[in-house]
Symmetry: C2
Subunit: 357 residues, 2 copies
């Protein structure tokens, strides 16, 4: 049984896009285990991890064990003052991510946060202002696409036109709760932001990516706590529907109901419906089938049906492109507008769901 909290997939196909020392980053706020995958994938793509800071010595020691080339900084300021460092990667408690990022940008650093990037629309507004004022990047590791090879391959297939015009996207994001090993903030809504804000941010990013919409209306949103009365602020279930500004629609379900018998932390699925075919991603497990394997892509077109397992074949192209974007001030990996719009949509859906309750 894998709990997924420190789930850190690393692409096996990952060419470094720069020389050692050419792109240097610091790490702080080790509050969520996602930071380990973010760090490894930046390093695989050529980045150099120089400094790390966290007030918790245990977390710091764990990080340094995995990244022995890094050095413990005595404070966040030491990272922000270091002129070698151009990017700060962080996985803070969600409601603290915006404040940290805005500080980093005002100190001249690009910022790369674990998702969800914000817990309120006002934080998003402030970050938009800070990006405009500083010219720095507020990037987000929407890992359910950026750290899954099937998800990245699907983006390439969609772009090739093989399934025609994308008219709808369904995303299922079940996750294992493992309540006993979660930090307190995980159960406080003001800190984690709600299930659509949190897990739903992945779905919104995929919606924009696969459908090509640049904005959307939220047509339905619901959150609920069905089965966890001991954690009254936990939303163990969320769902929402969108209609994009290009007419494509999306439906997304997020939940904390992964059964203990599943081999992995969650049976994440994505179904991309086009006018000439469809793609289904079984991202982390293909249930009831041996061997366990991630990165399954099923495609049906007018020519037939096909199952592809793309493990080791696609890599995580985001990370190299992102490093080059930081070095060259381009936006090939992901535009700032896209990063912020995905965040905006999950926040708007969360607000709609909260109003309903």
């Amino acid at each position: 049984m894998s709990d997924g909290m420190n789930y850190a997939p690393v692409a096996t196909q990952q060419a470094a896009v720069c020389q050692p020392g050419e792109f240097v980053f610091g790490v702080t706020a080790l509050d969520h285990g996602h930071i380990y995958g973010m760090t490894q994938n930046l390093k695989r793509a050529g980045a150099t991890c120089k400094l790390v800071y966290d007030p918790d010595p245990k977390k710091l020691a764990y990080f340094l064990k995995q990244n022995p080339e890094a050095r413990a900084a005595s404070s966040l300021d030491e990272i922000l003052d270091d002129t070698d460092i151009s990017l700060v990667a962080a996985a803070a408690i969600p409601n603290l991510r915006a404040g940290l990022g805005i500080e980093c940008m005002h100190r001249g650093k690009d910022y790369f946060t674990d998702k969800t990037p914000f817990t309120s629309l006002s934080q998003l507004d402030e970050a938009r202002e800070a990006v405009a004022a500083t010219g720095r990047k507020y990037a987000c590791c929407y890992s359910e696409r950026l750290q899954n090879e099937a998800a990245e391959h699907a983006a390439a297939l969609v772009a090739s036109g093989v399934i025609g015009q994308v008219i709808q996207l369904i995303g299922l994001g079940p996750h294992r709760l493992s309540a006993g090993s979660r930090p307190d903030w995980f159960f406080r809504k003001q800190e984690y932001g709600g299930i659509i804000c949190d897990i739903g941010s992945h779905q919104m990013e995929q919606f924009l990516t696969y459908t090509g919409a640049t904005d959307a209306d939220v047509s339905m949103a619901r959150v609920h706590n069905y089965a966890h009365p001991a954690h009254p602020e936990l939303e163990d279930f969320g769902e929402c529907s969108l209609v994009g500004n290009n007419g494509a629609s999306g439906y997304f379900r997020m939940d904390w109901f992964t059964p203990d018998g599943l081999r992995n932390w969650g049976d994440g699925r994505t179904v991309i419906l086009g006018t000439a075919g469809y793609i289904e991603l079984r991202k982390y497990v293909d249930i009831g089938r041996e061997p366990m394997s991630e990165n399954n892509l099923y495609i049906v077109t007018n020519d037939g049906e096909e199952h592809l397992n793309v493990t080791g074949k696609v890599g995580f192209p985001f990370f190299g492109k992102f490093i080059l974007d930081c070095l060259e001030r381009t936006e090939h990996a992901m535009t700032q507008a896209h990063t912020f719009k995905a965040a905006e949509l999950c926040l708007r859906a969360q607000v709609l769901a909260d109003e309903r309750n």
Copy 2:
């Protein structure tokens, strides 16, 4: 390439519940090919097909070839006047189904219609009145559950409690259009009723069955024609969300975008999420896997993952139970309230979607 229009699955496991001649039915309105599966499954369960009437001699000849024991009646009246016959099975043009059924009931017959049972809420009201006035049954062959062994097995598993409390249902109902071989009425909305009214009726019935809700609010409904301008009244896409009166929710997508390369007419899926596990049905095809097989049920619980192919193992228990219900005036196969509520929900969702457009 299978077009599904005459899709007539017949259960291999089907014990007759009565002796030949003990339960006699007539057939009329051969407008949709679904009538063949309905007829075969009634016969397998012990019913005797005595008379058939349709004004179209070609359809009549085709039916008689498949059911040589039946005799062509000279009119519908001949069926309705036949005192041996207690049930009329029919697959009329959808907007004519209610009128036909109400006439049958007032002539002392139970009625068994292809889905969708109605195309308007006023038809449903009239049928409710006719049932109350006559004591006859207005039954409906919601075939995507009643004629699929995986779907029936799922109902038994859910009832056993193995996945805990059902909190959500997702149903995907893609269908192959085969526009060239469809009758004209198929493309006239006033006659087919809209895609949620039509294909969505299956989904609503499954929602009531698997979640145990007895009513629901429609929280979102949309229909659209994305890619068939030659058929402006066709809705090639529909989706809706429900919240049941027990708190369980449902999301359903219906479409006419099955690619030609799929081996079967549609990759129908059902995902039943419970608090202690989930079930996924791949009802008609398990894409990208050989051999092609219907009736796939995947279940994940706290004990593990399992894939069951239940072809030939479950049968279609509805038909025998339904015959006994007709003979004994019971409601074990499906209650009248359930039949009508499923119809009401798809009609209410269609109205909501139509208002949006």
